[in-house]
C-alpha cells in the first residue's frame, strides 16, 4: 500500500516535470545536437538539398585559418583585460560602499545602472563617444584639454578600437560584480575584524588576511562567470567595429556570426561555436578545480 502510494507520487512528480522537460529537450538539447551535426557538414540551408558530410574538416579548417587565431587572440585579450578590470574596480567600489553609512542604496543603484542598460544602446553610445570627427572623447582630448594635436581615429585602428570596446566591457560590468562583492562583504562576521584589529593588524592586513580569504568562494564564482562572459563578447564588437578593420578586431562570436549568417557557411559557424564552447568548458573546469577551496577559519 505504502509502496503503491509512493509509486503514484513519483508518477505525479514526473507529470509535473513534463512541461519543463519538453521545453528543455526542444529548445536546449535538440539545438545542441543539431548544431553539432551541422558542424560536420557543408550545410545547405535550402530545404531538400543534400548537405555534404565533411567529418571534422570544419574544425581542422579553423586551426589553419589566420582570422580564427586573430579572433581567438582578441577574445582572450578581451577576457584577460576586462575580467581583472571589472573585479578590481568592483572590489574598490564595494569596499567604499560597505563603509558608507548614508546613501549606500543610492550609490549601489547608480553603479548598477550600466548593468541593466541595453548592450545595444551603450554600444552605439560608445561608438559615438569614440567617433573620430565628432566624438566626445576626441573633443575633450583635443579641443578642451589640448592633449593631442589631432583627432585620434579610435575605431579605425585595431588597437585603439579594442581599447574602446574593453572600456565599455569594464564599465558595464562593474556593477554586477560590485553587488555580489558587497553582499559577501556584509556577510563577514564583524568579530573577525575586531579580533584582527586587537591583534594589531593594519587595515591592509585585515583586508588581505581576513576579508579576501573569506570571500574566496565569491571571488572564484565571479571569476568563472566573468570569464564565460568575456569569451562570449559579441554585441559591442559587432556594433562598434563589426570586426573591422581587416578582421583585426574580430572575436570568436562575431567571426562565427559573420561566417554563418553573412557567408551562409553554417557548418563552419557551428564548428566555431563548438570550439568556443570547448575552450570555455575547459577553462571553467580548471578554474573551479584549482581555485575553489573551502574557507578555513
Amino acid at each position: 500500500m505504502n509502496r503503491a502510494l509512493r509509486q503514484q507520487q513519483i508518477r505525479v512528480a514526473y507529470l509535473f516535470m513534463l512541461p519543463g522537460l519538453i521545453f528543455f529537450l526542444t529548445f536546449q538539447i535538440y539545438p545542441l545536437i543539431k548544431a553539432f551535426q551541422i558542424s560536420l557538414y557543408r550545410w545547405e540551408i535550402m530545404p531538400g538539398q543534400a548537405s555534404q558530410f565533411l567529418g571534422l574538416a570544419n574544425y581542422l579548417r579553423a586551426f589553419q585559418d589566420p582570422i580564427f587565431w586573430l579572433a581567438m587572440r582578441n577574445t582572450a585579450l578581451y577576457t584577460l583585460v576586462t575580467v581583472p578590470g571589472q573585479m578590481v574596480l568592483a572590489m574598490v567600489v564595494a569596499l567604499a560602499l560597505n563603509r558608507l553609512v548614508w546613501g549606500r542604496v543610492f550609490f549601489r543603484t547608480v553603479y548598477y545602472l550600466p548593468v541593466i542598460t541595453s548592450w545595444v544602446v551603450v554600444s552605439l553610445l560608445f561608438k559615438f563617444l569614440f567617433n573620430s570627427q565628432a566624438g566626445l572623447i576626441n573633443f575633450v582630448l583635443k579641443d578642451l584639454l589640448h592633449l593631442t594635436p589631432n583627432y585620434i581615429p579610435w575605431l579605425q585602428n585595431p588597437g585603439t578600437a579594442l581599447i574602446a570596446i574593453m572600456t565599455l566591457g569594464i564599465w558595464k560590468g562593474i556593477g554586477w560584480s560590485m553587488v555580489i562583492f558587497l553582499a559577501a562583504l556584509q556577510g563577514i562576521p564583524v568579530e573577525l575584524h575586531e579580533a584582527a584589529a586587537i591583534d594589531g593588524a593594519s587595515r591592509w592586513q585585515r583586508f588581505w588576511y581576513v576579508t579576501l580569504p573569506i570571500m574566496r568562494p565569491t571571488l572564484v564564482f565571479v571569476l568563472v562567470m566573468l570569464t564565460i562572459g568575456g569569451f562570449n563578447v559579441f554585441i559591442p564588437v559587432y556594433l562598434i567595429t563589426g570586426g573591422e578593420p581587416m578582421h583585426r578586431t574580430e572575436t570568436i562570436l562575431t567571426y562565427m556570426y559573420n561566417e554563418a549568417f553573412n557567408f551562409l557557411d553554417f557548418g563552419y559557424g557551428a564548428a566555431l561555436s563548438y570550439l568556443l564552447a570547448a575552450i570555455i568548458f575547459v577553462l571553467s573546469f580548471l578554474q573551479i578545480r584549482f581555485l575553489r577551496r573551502p574557507v578555513e577559519f
Binding site: 529548445f27 536546449q28 535538440y30 539545438p31 545542441l32 543539431k34 548544431a35 551541422i38 550545410w43 545547405e44 540551408i45 535550402m46 530545404p47 531538400g48 538539398q49 567617433n131 573620430s132 570627427q133 581615429p153 579610435w154 575605431l155 579605425q156 564564482f221 568563472v224 562567470m225 564565460i228 562570449n232 567595429t241 573591422e244 578593420p245 581587416m246 578582421h247 562570436l253 562565427m256 556570426y257 554563418a260 549568417f261 553573412n262 557567408f263 551562409l264 553554417f266 559557424g269 557551428a270 561555436s273 568556443l276 564552447a277 570555455i280 568548458f281 571553467s284 578554474q287 573551479i288
Partner: protein
Amino acid sequence: MNARKAFLLLIVLVVLALVVIACGPAATPTPQVIKETVVVTQVVEKPGEKVVETKIVEVEKVVTPTPQPEGPVTIAFWHAYNPVETEMLTKKVIPAFEEKYPNIKVEAQAVPYNEFRKKLLTAIAGGTAPDLIRSDIIWVPELADMGALVALDELMPDFDEYKDQVFPGPLSTNYWKGHYYGLPLDTNTRILMWNKEMYEAAGITEPPTTIDEFLAVCEKIKSLGEDKYCFADGGTYGWAVLPWIWSFGGSLTDPDMTTASGYVNSPATVAAYEFLKELLDKGYLHPGILGGGVDTSGGYAQDQIANLLEGPWMPAIFEAQYPDKEIQWALMPAGDGGSISVVGGEDIVMFQQSQHKEAAAEFIRFMLSPEVQLMMADVGQVPVRMDVTDEAVQKQPYFALFFEQLKTAKARLPHPNWPKIEDLLTSTGQAILRGEKGAQEALDELAPKIDSLLATD
C-alpha cells in the same frame, strides 16, 4: 554547479541562433525530378572544320509543380523601397495591377534593407519564401546557385522580349550558369557629384573629365585648407573601388570569372590602388575611407568635400536635408580604361517555393511595363527599359547623365561567392591604403585567394 548551468545555458544560446534557421519545417511544395527531352544545337569544333550538330538529349530537371490558379490567388512581394517609393508602389502600382488582374492579389511587404538578406534566408530555409522579391542585384547569383530561384527564361515564354528591352549591364546581374534568374527592376550607377562652390573658391570652372584632370582639381582644392578634402568614400568595398579599377583599365577577373590571377594584380589594377593611396597620402582623400564612418553628404553640403561618387537617390536626400545646397553632376573621370562606373540597383526574382508562379510572372511583366517603369521614375527610380529613357529624362532631367554612364557601367562580379570575395577585396584595400603592404604585393597575395573562391562549386 552554477558555472556548469551557466555553461550549458551559454552553449544553448550560442547554438540556438544557428539552429532556429536550420531546423525549420520542410518546404510545402515537393520538388519533383522530371525527365525532359530537349533538342540541343551544338557547335562542335573539330580540327579544321566546324560542324553544327543537333542532338536530342534527355535531361533531368528538378521542378516544383504549380497548381493552376482556380480562384483568386495572393502573391507575396518583398521589397526594400524607401517610404516615398513604397507609397507609389502600394497606392498606385499595385492597385493598377489588381484592377488589370482581378484574380491576383499582391501582398507587398517592406523589409528594411539591412535585415532583408537574413530574413529572406530564414524564410527560404523554413520553406516560406515569398513568391517574388525586389532583390539587390548582388544577391541574385548566390540565391540562384543555392537553387532557390526560378529560371525566368524557362518559365516565361516571352522572356526574350523583356531581355532585349533592358540595359545589358543590369540584365547581366541576373545571369548564372546558362540561365537568367530574374529581370532588372531599376538601376543606378555612381557618377561624379562635384561641389560648385568649392570649385569656384579654388578657381576651377569645369568638372574633370579625366583622372589626370581630377588630380589637378584635387591639388587646387587642397590649397583651400587642411580640412578641405577633394574626395571621400566610405570604405574599400567593391562599390567604392571598382569604378577606379575599371576606369584605370583594370579588373578583378577575366570576363568569364574563371581566374583573378593576371587581372586583379594586373598593372592597371595596381595603378588604381596606388592612385587611391596617393590621394590619401596627399590629404586629398578623406581618411574616413579607412573606416570609422564619414558623413559624405554632410561634408559636401558644408563645403568640406569637393567630389563624391554618388547615385540618383541624392537629389531627394538633399531636398529633404540640405535644401539650400545645389548638386552638380558629371561623368566618372576617364582613365586608360575609359569612364566606367559600377552598376547598382535591384532585380525582380521568383522563388521555387512559390505556389503561384504564373501569377507571379504576370506581376513581373507588369513591373517591367513602360507605364510602371515611368511611374517609379517619378519617385527617383531609374528605369531599366531602354525605350522609356527619353520620357524618364523629361521627368527627371538629372537622369540623363546616369543613362550616359550606364552605357558603359559594369556589374560587380555576379558570382555566388561575391560576399567572400568582396570581404577579401575590402581587407586588401585597407592594407594598401594603410601602407602595410605595397599595392602589387597585396594584390599578388589576393589573386590566388579569389581564384579558389571562383572555382568553389
